[in-house]
Amino acid sequence: VDRPVSPRDRTAGWQASVVGVGTVVGIAAVVAAIGWVLALVMQLMAL
């Protein structure tokens, strides 16, 4: 059954895509930063 989309749905419009993609860019930056810190820590632990 094709029910109507919830009024809380705010995915229409370019602002939503900017928010969505921007957040994922932020998440990816945090992931990369964690990777760099881990690389640094493991390098020091292996010394």
Binding site: R10, G20, V31, M42
Partner: protein
């Protein structure tokens, strides 16, 4: 005792398979147009021939088997399982005609690897593949990543009310919005936005790496398909290592993270529900496993002496773990180095990362973080039950969009699929051992990579690999992509076709139309 399907059941299955075949001809027609524009006549003829075969098979089947009967769950599962087999065989036709594969089995392997977003490759002389054929090869990731049946039926609005049945059967059970067609279109909206943003970012980074113009654009588009759809094909035989660029690697990392996130999480973020990031069981599980396995791999690399500087550990070690965990399979180093230079700990971490996979409802393969999270929650509940008085109420819950009570059937389903993946990984590893050329480390690495649809290779997969092993990996990629259920339903359907009991009198639902 099961009921034996009759002619009308086979008719409806054949009819929908015909629709899928006809739709797949579009996947070949698009790069064929590119080939004609670029004047790549050999590639154009191969792609047009492939498109003609797919369209012909589809039209003939639709014409002969036209029916208005509705699709049941059993039909849907069989259609999906067979559609991925048929789609990979039809998709192999242009690849075989390109002259870059020694036989049709190699081309079929490549097509199955592309459609299941695995990225294992047996192509010969990849660096001299035409632009249009390279585009076609990467386009298979995009079509397979979204789900070939859904691409054909939802976008062309060809399935009517049957789309929902096929949507679930294809391994997607999340509905972001109430309608399946709208959900599929929202998924395409996300993919389209990332196509624009990701391609531009890749174009800029590849340009700074020294590849500009149309060639740079071709690399950017192809790499986008492979990264966002967690595929793993690359335009060059050296994969991402070809670019020698930290900027390219960072952009690829961003796209791999975006690709491994479930579309439900994308939907929550587009709706500014940031709380989902901290509460979602799957996000938490993935964060814990990524940090743990990265630490393992980086420490293993550091003590093995393969990379002694932070930048080397990050660019080779962390990139590889992220590539494995997201199910992408891009390489920044030769796969053979995993055996010769990486020691024992780091490759083990990569294998575990591949086996676990990304989020359910994304294009990533593997067991999926939600199943690990749910199984762990169930284990904690069992331990708590032992420690608490018998009269105590012990309810476990997990968060996926909202707080949900962990019901026994959810736990049972998650554990069953987890065990099936583990069994498939082991079975592929054992088959590899029978050839007597590799040890269990190498065969398990390759088996996990195939069944989890990752694509990292330690060197077993190649144009000269044993044919039996090639067929095993084709089956593993197929099973892994469909998460077993549709394939098992198809096998059970086949068994009931041979030994099931005929229903008399025939129900009106089963009557010929």
């Amino acid at each position: 005792m099961s009921l034996r399907p009759d002619g009308s059941d086979l008719r409806i299955i054949g009819y929908y398979l015909g629709k899928v075949a006809a739709g797949l001809s579009l996947m070949m027609a698009l790069p064929a147009v590119l080939a004609l524009v670029l004047g790549e006549w050999n590639a154009a003829s191969a792609l047009l021939a492939g498109a003609a075969v797919a369209f012909g098979v589809g039209q003939l089947t639709e014409w002969r088997l036209r029916t208005r009967a509705s699709l049941t769950w059993a039909h849907g599962a069989v259609v999906v399982a067979l559609a991925w087999l048929l789609g990979s065989v039809l998709g192999a036709v242009p690849l075989f005609l390109s002259g870059h594969f020694s036989d049709f089995l190699d081309a079929w392997f490549e097509a199955m690897s592309g459609l299941t977003t695995s990225g294992l490759s047996v192509i010969q002389d990849l660096d001299h593949l035409s632009y249009s054929m390279s585009f076609y090869r990467h386009l298979t990731h995009f079509v397979g990543g979204q789900g070939i049946v859904i691409v054909v039926l939802a976008l062309l609005s060809a399935g009517g009310g049957s789309v929902g049945t096929l949507y679930v059967a294809e391994g997607r059970d999340e509905r972001l919005v109430p309608s399946v067609v709208r959900t599929a279109r929202f998924i395409f909206l996300i993919a389209s936005v990332y196509l624009g943003v990701g391609t531009l970012a890749l174009l800029g980074s590849i340009w700074t790496a020294g590849i500009g113009g149309w060639r740079g654009l071709g690399h950017a588009v192809n790499l986008f398909f492979a990264a966002f759809d967690t595929g793993g094909f690359a335009p060059s035989s050296q994969s991402i290592g070809y670019y020698h660029s930290v900027t390219v690697e960072l952009v690829i990392m961003f796209l791999m993270v975006a690709g491994t996130m479930s579309f439900a999480l994308h939907y929550a973020l587009w709706n500014r529900r940031y709380g989902e990031l901290g509460q979602n069981t799957e996000v938490r599980t993935l964060a814990i496993s990524l940090v743990t396995l990265s630490a393992m791999a980086l420490y293993g690399l550091a003590i093995s002496g393969a990379y002694t500087e932070t930048s080397g550990l990050f660019r080779k070690g962390f990139f590889t773990v992220l590539s494995a965990h997201s199910g992408t399979g891009f390489g920044v180093t030769s796969g053979r180095l995993f055996l010769t230079d990486w020691g024992v700990l780091a490759p083990s971490a990569v294998v575990i990362a591949m086996a676990l996979g990304g989020m359910a409802g994304s294009t990533a393969g593997g067991i999926k973080a939600v199943r690990i999270g749910v199984t762990f929650t169930g284990l904690v509940q069992d331990i708590r039950r032992l420690l608490l008085p018998e009269s105590a109420l012990n309810v476990a819950s997990y968060h996926s969009g909202r707080r949900r009570v962990l019901r026994s059937e959810v736990l049972r389903s998650a554990t069953a699929v987890l065990l099936l993946y583990a069994g498939t990984y082991l079975a592929g590893g054992l088959v590899g051992l029978f050839y007597g050329e590799w040890d269990i480390t190498a065969t398990l690495f390759e088996s996990v990579s195939a069944a989890a649809n990752v694509g990292l290779s330690i060197g077993i997969v190649g144009p000269d690999m044993p044919r039996g092993l090639q067929l095993t990996y084709i089956a593993q990629m197929w099973l892994g992509r469909l998460e077993f259920v549709a394939v098992f339903a198809m096998v059970a359907y086949g068994v009931s076709l041979l030994s099931g009991r005929r229903l008399r009198p025939r129900s009106p639902r089963w009557g010929r139309t």
